[in-house]
Symmetry: C2
Subunit: 413 residues, 2 copies
């Protein structure tokens, strides 16, 4: 397997092109008057890139929805966006070769673009994440509803957690054969154990076994928070060529090679920041994955609609030495917030020269992590933020006070 540098694969009849994205968290902050539309706006931007780059399909890595039971409005908006952007007169050139009844557990075990009653221009394939996992009567998830309507091809639902057999979706275009393995989120500890017991079996096509490009999409912790509470990369079988890692919200879309296993990993990260941590403050991207036989490349695309988010770490002891007057500290922090605000706006203008003549920069998200060890006073973040209520998107939680020992970086992504 060779990785080749960006833009070396010229799209032709042998190239499978896939828009890769993950963790769109549709419906996130839907009750916030300012931010309610953020997740949808960026998801629509992504759908428009799929059209612009003329991809064969889109592959999502889970957490399409933020809530396990999306509100009626979120479901309605999502269905409307999918119907608007995934339907039309573009025939899909991917030959579907595997047994669809094994790939899809839905009422209609058929890939949507082969249903003669639906005119699909952009097939979307998705696994579920931990936010939108199956539950309740019938063990259904929100993706099952989209799948029943034919707007999404939901795969990677496993009947058991202790004995998992993944039957790949087999797609072919020209000379390129793609085996797509999907595994929707399972609690990390359980999956860790199932891997250890060698009970995660990945089936392989018998014919031309070595000619397939093997892509695996999963939605698990990649970073170890506790032992056994993540999935080590090395657990994955080394016949895999590329892993699309969902769940981790930091955009690490550039290929990272696992030298032990000799495969590559891409982690697109979320398309909307759901926590104000450092990982989420990195510039967000999606990718165009192009596969030609056993070669592949990822072209990364910066998402323009994402609300600007800057954060900074401040140690009061280092910056204010012996000054403990609350007014002085407050003024110091106000100045820091305003510096970040200015930088966020300047960056946005620089990155969006076309937009900046037409509209103002969206109000940014700002987070100051304030280390107050050494007897410094703290004050109410909510009250502090009131002065920024018309300038900053998250006035109530700009400040996060912590002491040196507190390592408060566990997030549920």
């Amino acid at each position: 397997m060779d990785e080749i540098a960006s833009n070396e694969i010229v799209t032709d009849d042998d190239v499978i092109s896939i828009l890769i994205a993950t963790d769109n968290h549709l419906g996130y902050m839907e009750r916030d008057p300012l931010r309610s539309n953020d997740s949808f706006q960026t998801f629509e931007e992504i759908l428009l890139y799929a059209k612009k780059y003329n991809v064969d399909m889109m592959l999502l890595g889970g957490d399409l929805f933020h809530d396990n039971k999306p509100s009626r409005k979120t479901l309605y908006n999502t269905i409307a966006l999918l119907r608007q952007h995934c339907m039309g007169d573009k025939p899909c050139q991917l030959e579907f070769l595997s047994d669809q009844k094994r790939n899809f557990t839905s009422f209609f075990p058929i890939v949507n673009y082969e249903d003669p009653n639906l005119n699909i221009s952009l097939p979307i394939f998705s696994i579920h994440g931990n936010h939108d996992d199956p539950s309740g009567d019938g063990n259904l998830c929100a993706l099952d509803v989209l799948s029943a309507s034919g707007l999404i091809n939901y795969f990677g639902k496993s009947n058991q957690v202790d004995n998992i057999e993944i039957s790949p979706i087999l797609l072919k275009k020209g000379k390129t054969r793609l085996a797509l393995y999907g595994l929707g989120n399972i609690r990390d500890e359980r999956l860790y154990r199932t891997f250890l017991r060698k009970n995660v079996k990945m089936l392989r096509p018998k014919q031309n076994m070595d000619e397939w490009f093997n892509l695996f999409v999963l939605h698990q912790n990649r970073v170890s928070h506790n032992p056994k509470n993540y999935i080590p990369e090395t657990f994955v079988n080394d016949f895999i060529d590329l892993i699309l890692w969902g769940h981790e919200h930091e955009c690490l879309i550039d290929l990272s090679k696992n030298e032990v296993k000799n495969f590559y990993i891409t982690q697109p990260g979320s398309s909307v920041a759901t926590s104000l941590c450092e990982g989420e403050s990195k510039t967000k991207h999606i990718g165009i994955l192009r596969i030609k036989q056993k070669q592949f490349e990822i072209e990364k695309i910066k998402l323009k609609s994402v609300r600007p988010f800057l954060m900074a770490d401040i140690c009061l002891q280092e910056n204010l030495s012996n000054e403990r007057d609350p007014t002085v500290i407050t003024n110091y922090l106000i100045q820091k917030v305003e510096e970040l605000e200015k930088k966020a706006i300047d960056d946005w203008k620089e990155n969006n020269p076309d937009l900046s003549s037409k509209m103002n920069c969206p109000r940014p998200l700002i987070r100051l992590r304030v280390e107050y060890s050494g007897g410094y006073p703290t004050f109410n973040p909510h009250k502090f933020g009131q002065r920024f209520v018309n300038r900053i998107a998250n006035p109530n939680d700009i400040l996060h006070f912590y002491r040196k020992k507190a390592v408060a970086k566990l997030n549920s992504s």
Copy 2:
């Protein structure tokens, strides 16, 4: 306007045929292990009649869903049934003549069978009922979700309740022109007042005004429970030819003429019994409405999949004179239940000669209304029902004790 007797209109290129049904209450009793599928089974029977009778469209009178927020499973099952039975290669012969932006408030203001991306064989038009009315953020209802996916044409949503303007859907087939007026449920008292104030306006097509067949579908109390808590038939404008009345669960599908207004009313009733009252115990039907210019007829079709339901009124004083021994009373009531059970099964076998060789009669619903005035003892209906737990579908509420004065027949349909 002439009503003509059943089967006189021979289907030809001038006849618009419409399957009419209402109050399907999908998801009713979805947690009852025995009855969870009742509403879906009958709804599927109805969809199959639409195919069998080769209708041009289906018209529903509201309460498609039992719960305002249907469970994921109910939404999933409904979408699956609609995709299965409403899509296919049968072109719709109805010309759509009105401004779709005025008829449909959805994200896609287009009738589903004209969307080039959807292959619709059976267009369904529906108003909302009181069970599935719009609410919450965005004032959306479950039908909006189905409408966004293109599986239903949801109409009759009014922006205001005090000033209502109904713009009809105008359909044409051959020489027949149909003006379809829809009004989703509004609280009866409000709508009563709006009618009184002459603020319900029904717009009429300017061209060939007298040639249109005018059909009005609404979902309100037809029977007066309290003054002003229903809509008198005479409130409806007399240019209307036929009213499809939803919400009332008793099947009164045979045409009833309002002699004051000179129009007809059909009340199909619910397709699943949601309360154990007399109205719901009548045989349930749907209809095939055939319209040829200004003539019309309704062919009624008995629903076979409806769970048998029999009820009886018993007055202890009349039947047991001075006998007040609880054991004797209990045995008497057991005997009555068993008589009804036997009758329900015999009726079902007689009505379903084809099915009765293949399957047993579904466990019937039985209700005994027991008048116990005169110092008779009552006992726990739940405990009484335990002996019928494997024979009767509603063991916990077979018995309903009441005194002479108690008139407990108000239902929320």
